[in-house]
Symmetry: C2
Subunit: 727 residues, 2 copies
Amino acid sequence: MAKSQALQSNLDVDYVISYRFAKTDKAKAVAQFEKLCEALANVGLQTEVRNGDSHSVLLFVRVASDEHLFGEIYRSRVRDWIHGVRAAAPSKETRESLEAEPLYEAERLRIIYQLITNPRSEGGAGITPKEGEWEGVESVFALHDHAYNKDWIKKWSSQWLLTTEDLDDIRNRLGEKIAFYFAFTQSYFTFLVFPAAFGFAAWLFLGSFSPIYGIVSAVWCTVFTEYWKQQEVDLGIRWGVKGVSKIDIKRKEFQHEKTVTDPITGEQVGFFSASKRFQRQLLQIPFALIAALSLGAVIATCFGIEVFISEVYNGPLKSVLVFIPTGILTTVNPILNTLLTQVATRLTDYENYETAAAHDTALTQKIFVMNFIMSYLGIFLTAFVYVPFGNVIVPYLDIFNVAVRPFAEDEKQLHHTNSNWSINPDRLRKQVIYFTVTAQVVNLGMELIVPYLKRRGFAKFKQIQSDRAAKNGGAPPASASDPPEDAAFLERVRKEAELDVYDVTTDLREMVVQFGYLSLFSVVWPLTAVSFIINDWIELRADAMKICVEMQRPTPWRADTIGPWLDSLSFLTWLGSLTTSALVYMFWNTSTGPDGNPSNIQLWALLLTVFFSEHLFILFRMAVRIVLSKIDSPGLQKERRDRFLVRKQYFEENLSAMEKIPKMSDGGGEITRKSLEEDARLGSLHETTPETKFWGRQRGWRETASVARGFIERAQNETTVERKKEL
Amino acid sequence: MAKSQALQSNLDVDYVISYRFAKTDKAKAVAQFEKLCEALANVGLQTEVRNGDSHSVLLFVRVASDEHLFGEIYRSRVRDWIHGVRAAAPSKETRESLEAEPLYEAERLRIIYQLITNPRSEGGAGITPKEGEWEGVESVFALHDHAYNKDWIKKWSSQWLLTTEDLDDIRNRLGEKIAFYFAFTQSYFTFLVFPAAFGFAAWLFLGSFSPIYGIVSAVWCTVFTEYWKQQEVDLGIRWGVKGVSKIDIKRKEFQHEKTVTDPITGEQVGFFSASKRFQRQLLQIPFALIAALSLGAVIATCFGIEVFISEVYNGPLKSVLVFIPTGILTTVNPILNTLLTQVATRLTDYENYETAAAHDTALTQKIFVMNFIMSYLGIFLTAFVYVPFGNVIVPYLDIFNVAVRPFAEDEKQLHHTNSNWSINPDRLRKQVIYFTVTAQVVNLGMELIVPYLKRRGFAKFKQIQSDRAAKNGGAPPASASDPPEDAAFLERVRKEAELDVYDVTTDLREMVVQFGYLSLFSVVWPLTAVSFIINDWIELRADAMKICVEMQRPTPWRADTIGPWLDSLSFLTWLGSLTTSALVYMFWNTSTGPDGNPSNIQLWALLLTVFFSEHLFILFRMAVRIVLSKIDSPGLQKERRDRFLVRKQYFEENLSAMEKIPKMSDGGGEITRKSLEEDARLGSLHETTPETKFWGRQRGWRETASVARGFIERAQNETTVERKKEL
C-alpha cells in the first residue's frame, strides 16, 4: 500500500487505544491488557493489536456487534428526550428509530467513545484513560480523515466567509463543541466588519477617545453579545443539541463523603455536602488574592521599571536596561501562569464537583480571572494610574535609583531628570497597539510554529534514538514487526498517537480575551478592530490547520453553548461601558490627555459619566434583548414546527374518538324524550331532590329558549306600560 | 326551602349566564337568546332559564354530556404536555387519564368556562361576554360555595399564619392565579417579621438613616425578591402549572392586518407586522411623558403650595388654606388616574397584541409607571429636592404670594417670613409615616367599606324602585314568577349577579407598591415594616372576605407567576439600593438632616456611595441567586421524580430487548469459528480488501491479547538488554 493510500483510508478503524507499559511490571501489563481486550469485546467491539513506539502497543477497535451500539444510541436518545433536547420520544424499536434518523459521523464516534469509557453499570466498557487500573491506557483517539481534512483546508483557504454549511460540516465531523467554537469565531469575525470600517473612519476623522466612537463601540459589543446568545439557541436547534448542557454528566473523579438514598430514584448515590464544598470554595478568595497580587506585582513592577528606565532614567546602559522589564515579564509571567493554572486545577478538583459542567464552570472562572489580570492590568495601570497620577507617583520610582546607582557615572545624571519630567501621553496608545497587534501576531505564530518545532524535534530525537539502538544491535524499531501492506498505515497511526490532544477552550479563551481589548480599550486606538479582523481571518484557518495537522482527531463532544465564556463575554461588555466612558471623559478634547496632575479630573464628573454610561448600557442591553427575542429565526421555527407535529399527531390519534360524540342539538327531541323516561324512572326510584326539581323544569334548549321568550316579552311589555304611564 | 339552605346548595349549577336585553330589540333578543341556548346545548351543556332583575334573564348551565368536557380536558392536557407543564403525555383514553388524575373544582370550572367561551373551531360554544353578537351576555359566573366561604373566613380569622395547605385549598377552589396572589402576600407577610423586629430595634437604638438598617433592609429586600422567584417555581410545580404562562393564549380582540400561511402549522393565521406595532408602541413615550408631567405637576404644585402655606405663609386663613393641597390631590389625582388608566388601556389595545400575556405585560408596565409616580414622587421631591435645595428653591415659592395677597391684611405678614425661614427637617419622616400608615389604613378601609356602601345603596335604590312600581300597579318584581321552592336560591343568585368582578391584579399592585415603600424609604422611618405587618395580616383576611362577599365568584384561571409585577418587584429592589444609600449618605449623623444648603453635600461622595452601593447590591443579588439555585425544594424534587419515572418506564419497556444481546466473550470460541467460516465464504465471494485483511489477523479478544503479550514481552526484554549494555 502506497503512502498516499495510507492517508486515504482508515481501514474501518473506529478508535485507536494507545497502551503504554514502560513503567509497569511485565506480567501486570500483560494481565491488564488482557482485561482491556475482554472489556472491549464485552461491549461488542472487535480488536486488533499492533506494535507501538517505545514501550507501547496500539489497540485498534471497531464496532462488531451493532446491538451494543444501538443500546447506547437508544439510551442517549431517551436521555435527550427526557431533557427536552428532542421533541418526540424515540421509537422503542432502536433499529426503526435509527433508520428514521441515521447517525452522523461525529455522533457515531461520540457514542463509540462513550461505549468504551462509560462505566459498566451504564452499559460501557468502563475504560478510563490514565486513571485507576487503566493507567496504562495513554489515549483513546479516532483517526484523522485525511481526505476530508485536505479538502477542508483547501476550501477554507480560498473562501472569504464561512457559510452555515461549512459549520454544519464541522459539526458532522468534529462534533458540536468544536463547531460552536468555529461558529462563534465566524460570527465574531463577521460582526467585526462594522467596527473595523467605522474604526477606520473614526481613526481618520474623529481621532482617539471620541465619544461617538465610544458609543458606537459599546453598542456594537452589546449587540454582538446578545446576538450570539440568540445564535447559540438557533445553532443548538439546528444541530439538535439544544439543552444538552442541562444533561448532568457525573464526574468520575467525584469523591463522595457518604452514600445516601436518592429521594428521586431510590438508588444509592454518593453525597457530598454543599456546606463542605462551600468551605472549600472559600479558598478561592485567598487564591484570587494571591493570583491578583503576584501577577499584579510582577506587572506593576515591570511597569514601574519600564517607566523609570525609559522616561526617568537617563544614565548609562539605558539601551540595555530598557529590556529588563520585558525580560522579567516573558520569563516570570509564563512560570507564574503555569503555576497558578495548576493551583486553580487542583483547587477545582478539591472543590469536588459532582457534574462535569459545574467543574468546568468553576475552572473557567478561575482561569478567566488570571487571564483578565495578565491581559488587561497593564493597560489599566497606564490609563487609570500612570496618566492621571503620573506626576505624583513617578518621583517615588526613585527607589529604582538605588538599584541602578552602581551603573551611574555621576550623581547628576540621575537627579536632574526628575525635576522636568512629565508623563508620556503616547504610552497608553502604544501599549494598546502592542497588545492588539504585536501580541496577537506573536500569539498566532506561537500557536502554529511551536507545536511544529516540537513535533520536528521529537521526530528527530526518536530517529537518533532508534539509529543508536540499531547500531548497538538492540531492539529493532516498532515498525519492524509490521505486515508490509499495513506498514504505511501503521506509521501514520504511530505519528498520530504522538500528537497533542486538542483543547478547544484555549482557542475560545483567546477569542474572548481579544474581544475584551475591543470592548475595554478600543476607544484608545480605533484601528483595533482592523487589526483583529485580519488576525481572525487567519486564526480561523490556522485553527483548522492545527486540528488537522498538529493534534489528534478530537473526540466529538456535544455542546449547545460556548459555556462559561459567555458570562465572561457579558462581563467584558459591561465593564467596557465603564472603561470606555471613563477614558472618553478623561482624555477627550485634551490632545495629549491629562497631564498627570489628578486635580484636573473632576471626580464627580467622572463618576457621573461612568454612572450615566453604565445605566444607559443596561437599558440599551434590555432593549436589544427584547428586540432580538421578537425576531424569528429558522432554528426557533424548526423547533416550533417539531413541537407542532408532535401535538398534531397526538390530536389526530385521538380525533376519531372525539368525532363520535353525538351532537345534542341534532337529536334534540330524541334526547329529550329519552331523558324524560329516564327521569321518570329515577323519580320512582329515589325521592325528588331539589336539584332534580330545579333542572327538571325545562327539557332541552328549545324549551329553555321558549320560556325565556316569555320572560323577555313580558319585560318588554312592562317597559312599554311603564313608559306610557310616565308620559 | 329556607334561606340558609339556599346558601348551602348550588343545585348542581356550574355556571350562570346573565343575559340583559334592556337595550336590545325584543325579537332580536329572543332570537339571540335562542342561539345562545343552542350553542350551549351543542357543547353538551344543559340549560334552565329563570327571570332576572330589571330586563335580564338568568341562564343556568350544567354539564349534561361528559364527552365534550372530556374533549376539552384532553385538549388542555395535551397542550400542557407539549409545553412541558406535564412530564408525561396524557393517556390517549381520556376516561382512563381522568381516572388517574381526577379534576379539582377550580380545574373543572375553568374547563367548563373554556367550553362556554372558546371559539367553535377549538371545540367551545364561542360565547364572548359583552362582545360582538354576544353583547347581551353580561356575565358568565359560577356561584359561590357559601358553606366553604364561611369555613374559610372563620378559619383564617383565628389563624396567625397561613399554611401551605390553606393555599392549596384556595388553589383548588379559586384557581392558581388567585392562589398565587395569596401565596405571594403570605410569603411577604412571613418575611416581614424580620424587618419588623429589626426595624423596631433600629428605631429604638439606631435611629433614622442608620447605614446598618439600610444594609439590612436592602439585603432583606433582595433575599425576599429572589426567594419569591424560587417559591414561584416551587408552587408552580406543586400545583402542576409550571410553564402555563408560556402557553400562548390568543387574544380574541387581536386585529390582523392580513392573513398569512403559518410556516409551522400551514394554517391561515392573522398577521400584524411587528414594525407597525413598534410604531404604535412609540406612542408610549409621549404617554409616559404626559403621565409623568401631569401627575408630577399636580403633585409638585400641591407640594409647593403645602410647603408655602405651612412653612412660609403666615397670613390669615392659614388653618383653612393648609387643606388646599390635600383637596387638590384628592380630587384631581383620582380623576387624572382614571383618565390615564383609560388612555393606557386604549393604547395597549391599539398596540394590538396577539397574546393575552403580551397584552397584560404591556398594560401592567404602563400602570406601574403611573403608580410609581403617584406613590413615590412626593417623597422623592422631599428627600432629593426640598431637603437639599430647600433654601435655594423655597424663596421662589413667593409666586404663590400673588395668589394669597388678597387675603393678606398687611404686606409685612407676607414678607418677613422668608428671611428667617429654614427647612423643616421632620417633613420627610412625617411624609413617609403618612404613606406607610395613614394611607394604608385609609386604603384598607376604602377597599372594604366602599363596596359595602355601594351594595347597600344599590339594594335600597332597587327596593324603592320596586315599591314604587308596585304602588303604581306596574310590573311585579322579577321574583314574582319564581317557583316557591327555588325563591330563596334565585334571590341569592340575583344578588350575586349584581356583584363586581374580582380583579386580582389590583390587590397585587397594592402589595407591590407597599413593598416599594419598604425598599425605597424605610430607612427614613424604620418602623415601616411594623406598620405593614399589621396591615397585611388584616389585608389577607379582608381580601378573602372581599372575594366571598363583595365579588362574584372569580373564574379560576391558571398562572405560574405573579406575572409582570415580578419585574416591578426587582426594579424596586434595585432602585432601593440607590435611594437607601443616597438617603443614608445625606442624612446620617446630621441630627436634623442637611440644612437645605446644597453645598454641604459633596456630589462626588454621594455618587461614589450610590455607585458602590449599587454594585454591592448587584454582586449580593448574584450570590443570593446562586445560593438559592443550589437549595433543593420539594417542588423541584417532585419534578425530577416525575421525569425520572417517565425515563425509567421507557428504559424498562426496552430493557427486555436489550438483555437478549449475546455476549461476545461468553461464546468467544464459537463466534470465532463461525466468523472464520463466514470470512472464508466471503473471501471466496469477493476480492480481499485491505480492511478485511487488516481486521482478519486476530480473531477474538484472546488472540489480540496473546499477540500483545508477545509485543510486551519483547519490549521488556529489549529494555533489559539495553540496560545491561548501558551498565
